[in-house]
């Protein structure tokens, strides 16, 4: 039994009262984006309603209040990741944006022809394409860590891949399609032994796992606010300060400069060097409230409860005839991907939607992974702390209905 009062938590999320096709909404698409608690919605309204101003250079009251709220978020995120320095927290538009920033600055400056970049079979397209673009431009070689049939990375193959040619490793902490939790500490340590830098794509991990970038010794860690009950269009890139300092700026514009003349521009210090233009102030301000919300519940409590949901869902779904769970990694977050014999995932999604149940179907932006698994796609149910076993029962009944209607 969870120490959390799930019914009370559900009341914090207004969207859970919505009706979909005349039914109570069952929201199982949390790996795509999580819903937002009142505290986050109020923070957004409160910012725009009471202290909206452009930050950092204004000397008036509102500008100072907005700047201080904006920088409070940076401090909250520093603590959330246990980063050594506040200026190591760069605000981005999301995980994808953070990965592109690293590929386009660190990658373009420090990688050269023949250098090897390692990713894994589990990657989201966001952690494939930016590296492919870099490889195309610089003549680097992209190498891919294979997986076994359960969805775990084959780390022996990774170790064999590493050499003095390896200059960068970019892997996902938690697979969005299968839920696999990767041993990123091992991956980082091994990469460092050959002198490579490592980026961890934390999009799926940030809401489920306690992240300590110093213990992990990650060089970069990227995640998105919207997957941890925060607003969309706001993300974080953590980078070690010495590496960030050595990197050239990404986008040019206001805020990222120290001095501009028509002859030459000198750049601002961290983190502002990487934050050109007016940032997404409201969403940055609001993310602190999402993090406070998670901290109040306790990440360990959330993880323990989500594990209960995962275990229950795995047991219940396994009993459905013709259903095969895809992804049976040793360690997983609360994501269950599955296929039904003789039924296309899209049909599963459409009929469940008619019953008010939101899941995701398709390739989950991981086409190379689906190819490796020999599947056109899967149906994926992903759970958050506000979900219940009753809702999982509805999913099971819904899948029985899918079978009855289609087969």
């Amino acid at each position: 039994m969870s120490v959390l009062d799930i019914n009370k938590i559900r009341q914090d999320f207004p969207i859970l009262d919505e009706k979909v096709n005349g039914r109570d909404l069952v929201y199982f698409d949390n790996a795509a984006t999580t819903q937002k608690p009142f505290v986050v919605l109020e923070a957004l309204a409160n910012y725009y309603g009471h202290y909206n101003a452009n930050i950092h250079r204004g000397i008036h009251f509102l500008a100072e209040k907005a700047t201080s709220a904006f920088e409070d978020s940076r401090s909250a995120i520093q603590k959330f990741l246990n980063a050594a320095h506040k200026e190591e927290i760069i605000f981005t538009y999301g995980t994808t944006d953070g990965i592109n920033l690293v590929a386009q600055t660190y990658g373009r400056k420090f990688l050269k022809e023949g250098d090897e970049i390692i990713i894994s079979t589990l990657e989201h397209h966001s952690n494939i394409v930016p590296w492919q673009m870099l490889c195309e431009e610089k003549g680097c070689v992209l190498r891919v860590i294979p997986i076994d049939d359960k969805g775990d990375l084959i780390l022996e193959a990774y170790e064999k891949m590493l050499s003095e040619k390896t200059k960068f490793v970019s892997v996902v902490h938690v697979s969005n399609a299968l839920g696999t939790i990767n041993d990123v500490k091992f991956i980082i340590d091994k990469a460092h032994e050959v002198g490579a830098k490592v980026l961890i794509d934390g999009a799926q991990a940030s809401s489920h796992i306690t992240i300590d970038v110093q213990t992990l010794d990650a060089d970069f860690y990227a995640f998105s606010a919207h997957k941890l009950f925060g607003p969309t269009g706001m993300g974080v890139l953590y980078g070690k300060s010495d590496i960030l300092n050595a990197m050239p700026p990404y986008r040019g514009g206001g805020e990222m400069i120290k001095e501009v003349t028509f002859e030459k521009t000198t750049y601002n210090e961290l983190p502002y060097k990487f934050e050109a233009g007016t940032p997404n102030i409201a969403d940055v301000v609001a993310v602190k409230f999402a993090i406070d919300y998670i901290n109040d519940l306790g990440k360990e409590n959330i993880a323990a409860y989500e594990d209960e949901l995962l275990k229950y869902a795995t047991e219940q779904l396994s009993e459905i005839g013709g259903l095969r769970i895809v992804g049976k990694a040793k360690e997983k977050v609360s994501v269950v991907s599955f296929v039904l014999n003789g039924i296309h995932p899209q049909d599963v999604g459409v009929i469940l939607d008619q019953q008010g149940i939101a899941i995701r179907t398709g390739h989950h932006c991981t086409q190379p992974l689906m190819n490796r698994l020999g599947l056109p796609g899967t149906s994926r149910a992903s759970f958050a702390v506000y979900n219940t076993t009753d809702e999982i029962d509805k999913l099971v009944a819904g899948i029985h209905k899918v079978k009855k209607m289609v087969l």
Binding site: Q346, D347, V350, Q354, P376, G377
Partner: protein, 140 residues
């Protein structure tokens, strides 16, 4: 029958259903009944882009009229596609280009026409119309 007469017939058929289950069972049934597209037409060029499931559309012209055949991996899409084919096939390019496909909305399936990435019905309609444009151009 004209395009509108066929649409009206479909709308009438759907009036029999008062819940989503009946409606979707009917669509699934249409999907099951749609003749399988011959493998020679299941080629890359005939795949409609933008669908979550693969949809093939094959078109040909005979005696001044356009004919469509289609298939899909997913049964509901196949049923929807079957209705589109029924409405659009056996008409001149001019009739197809002039047509206003109101039946999808009237039978309560408008969400399937939505421009989301998971859904290819809108792309399918667009593709049918571009075949009509192409055949019209060839004639002139």
């Amino acid at each position: 029958m004209t395009i509108n007469e066929i649409q009206d017939e479909i709308i009438e058929e759907f009036e029999l259903f008062d819940d989503w289950e009946g409606k979707y069972e009917y669509i699934i049934d249409l999907g099951k009944k749609l003749p399988k597209l011959s493998d020679e037409f299941k080629i890359e060029d005939n795949i409609i882009k933008g669908c979550q499931s693969i949809v093939w559309l094959h078109a040909y012209k005979q005696d001044g009229k356009l004919y469509f055949e289609a298939d899909s991996e997913a049964i509901i899409v196949k049923g929807l596609v079957s209705m589109l084919v029924k409405v659009m096939t056996n008409h001149t390019p001019e009739e197809i280009l002039k047509s206003d496909l109101y039946f999808i909305d009237k039978v309560g399936l408008a969400s399937h026409l939505a421009q989301t990435r998971s859904n290819g019905l809108a792309s399918m309609v667009k593709q049918m119309r571009s075949y009509a444009v192409a055949y019209q151009a060839k004639e002139n």
